[in-house]
Each structure stands twice: as structure tokens, then as C-alpha cells.
Amino acid sequence: MNRKLLFVLALVLIFCSHSLSQTGTKQRRPLPYEFGRVVLNNYSEKADLSPVVFEHWIHRSKFTCRVCHVDIGFAMKAGQTGIKAADNERGYYCGACHNGKMIADGKPVFAACSNRRLSYGDQKQCDRCHSLGKKVASDFDFFAFSEPLPKERFGNGIDWEKSEAIGLIKPAAFLDGFSIPKHFLAAQKDFELNSKVEGMPDIIFSHKKHTVWNGCELCHPEIFMGVRKGNSRYTMVDISEGKSCGVCHVTVAFPLTDCQRCHTKSVQP
């Protein structure tokens, strides 16, 4: 009887697994102002605050990836850093800039997680970040921000590379108190990645540009462990699940739907 039950259960799984699986369907494309949004809720709801909504687009126009993800030390996945209000109050993580003293765009950057007891006025200040599900006025309007920038097809709809190349955005690569004055960066060479699929253009990997924005430690060894070129195989399935290139190029950098941004080398006839 037990064996039959197990057999029937196995059949249930086989028949229903297809409908349960989430792959193989087209999801909605995040709207340009939603792309790169990270929701953080390790502790917010426990503290009776809405979860934090972090928007990448405003921050990436001001700093390189390395400043936040290496110098300040944010993890690359929501909830992995474990940011607490106490950390912010002491001037780490969000508090590294959001301390009420740092000047950006001519104004002091508002302080995150002030350590005073909350009064009604303070609650509004908390809502600036703890804004999931709330309508909160922001100092920055995405449409006004993105309007002068060169456009791209996917993600935020902004060509970030070109915006930086023509000087419309100037991401800072150094943050006082966190970035260590470093020696000159030895330029890394771009290299080719074979797509190993007939007819699919090869990839010219822009190692140089990536090191300018990220430094070395952000990717090596945690994201890319294989050292010898050509030793590790990165399949599109892995990438779309958020591994290797997919750590950034699914949710923050230009998404995988933009095939031509990577697969640039023309196919040899």
C-alpha cells in the first residue's frame, strides 16, 4: 500500500510539476524606473517599519559599483548584507553617506536611521527609505533624470556606458573614509569568449571597462572562480538564474534580453 501511495505521489509530481514551475513563461518587463529596485526586509517589518526600497538608478549615476560593493561592503543579493539601523547610525553601510553631513548636489544627504526615539515627524523621514507600499515623494524624479541621457532598449532604458563616456554622469570612484587610496590600476585586457553555439556571435568581454567600474575583488573569486580562460563554462541557463554574469546582468546592469550588447563579434562565414 505504501509503495502504491509513493507511486501515485510521484505521478502527481510529474504531472503537476510543469504547471508549478516558473520557467518557460514570459514575465513582465520591469518598468524603466523599477529596474534595479531592491527590497530589503531582514529587520524592517519586525521593527514596525515598511521594508526598504533601494533604487539603483540614482546611486549608480553617482558612484561606481566598487565604492558600494567593495569599499562600503554591500553584498550583491538582497538581504545578504544584514544592514541594521545601528550600523547606519554608526556611519556604516547606508550611513556611510546618509549621515546628514555628506554634501551631494549642493545639499546634505539625509541621515538614515537616526538614533533618536521616533516622533511623528521622524516617521516621515523613515518613510523616505522604508517606503514599500507607500507613496513617498522623492527628491529625484526618474523621468527628469533620464530624459537627457542616451537611451537603450532594456533595463532602465538608459545607456549608462554612453552616458558616462559623454560626461553626462560622473560616477565617483572614491569615498572618503571608506575607499583606500589605491595604487594605479593595472589595465586588464578585453578577451573573447566563445559562444559555442553555431551561428551565435562570440562575446568580446570588456574586462577593461568592468575593472574600471568594479575593481578586481567584486568579481574574483566570489562570482568568477575559474582562473584559466576557457576552463569554466558559463551557460545561459546559469546566467539567467543569477550566477556568474547574471549576478549583475539580470537585475541591475543591462539584462540578458539585450543579446547584442555581449554577443558582438560577427559570425565568421
Binding site: 583606500i180 589605491k182 578586481c216
Partner: protein, 111 residues
């Protein structure tokens, strides 16, 4: 009656002081006293991890030395307060990981 009144006043005074401290925040006196000691580990951390940009240009011995220095620094960072421990352990992990990665690549190249 009088004794009870005095006792009650003292008790309420105590509650007010505790509440006041709680509201304002605890005095942060410990940090300034140990500032010179902190700077030592901070200076060491800055020195080790400032070289990560040039990791590819180092010899295997230099990389091994840097990894050794990271390992020596790690217990000192473990003793810090919760916030700084979290931040600097993460940063040291990335920095040490990079040197180990580059060292491995150089060893593989030799083979």
C-alpha cells in the same frame, strides 16, 4: 508615610534617569579611549587591501605574504563591535579572496 513618600520620589527619579538615558542614547565614550589601538588594525587593513588593484603584478611570494597578513588581521577584526566586524570581515574576505585567486592563477600558469 514620609519614608514611603521619599522612597517613591527616589524611585521615580531613577526611572526618569534611566528613561532619559534611553531616549538620548548611551554615551559613546569607549571609542575615543581606544582610538590609537584601532588605528593600528585599520592602518594594516588599508595597507593590505590598497594593493588589490595591482594583484596581478605581484610575485607568488608577495601574494603569499599578503594572504598571511590577512590571516593575522582576521582575529583582530573579530574582536571589534558588531557593526565594524560585519563590515571589515566582509571587506577582508574579498581582499584575501582576490589575492588567493591571483596566486592560484599564477600557480596554474606555471604548470
Amino acid at each position: 508615610m514620609l519614608k514611603r513618600g521619599i522612597a517613591l520620589m527616589l524611585f521615580m527619579g531613577l526611572v526618569a534617569v534611566i528613561g532619559g538615558v534611553y531616549a538620548i542614547g548611551e554615551p559613546a565614550s569607549s571609542e575615543t579611549q581606544t582610538a590609537p589601538a584601532q588605528e593600528a588594525w585599520q592602518a594594516e587593513f588599508d595597507d593590505i587591501c590598497s594593493r588589490s588593484q595591482n594583484a596581478m603584478t605581484f610575485s607568488q611570494q608577495e601574494l603569499a605574504d599578503l594572504i598571511q597578513r590577512c590571516d593575522v588581521l582576521m582575529p583582530k577584526i573579530e574582536k571589534l563591535d558588531e557593526t565594524r566586524k560585519k563590515v571589515y570581515m566582509g571587506r577582508l574576505r574579498m581582499c584575501r579572496g582576490l589575492y588567493a585567486y591571483v596566486l592560484e592563477s599564477k600557480e596554474n600558469q606555471k604548470k
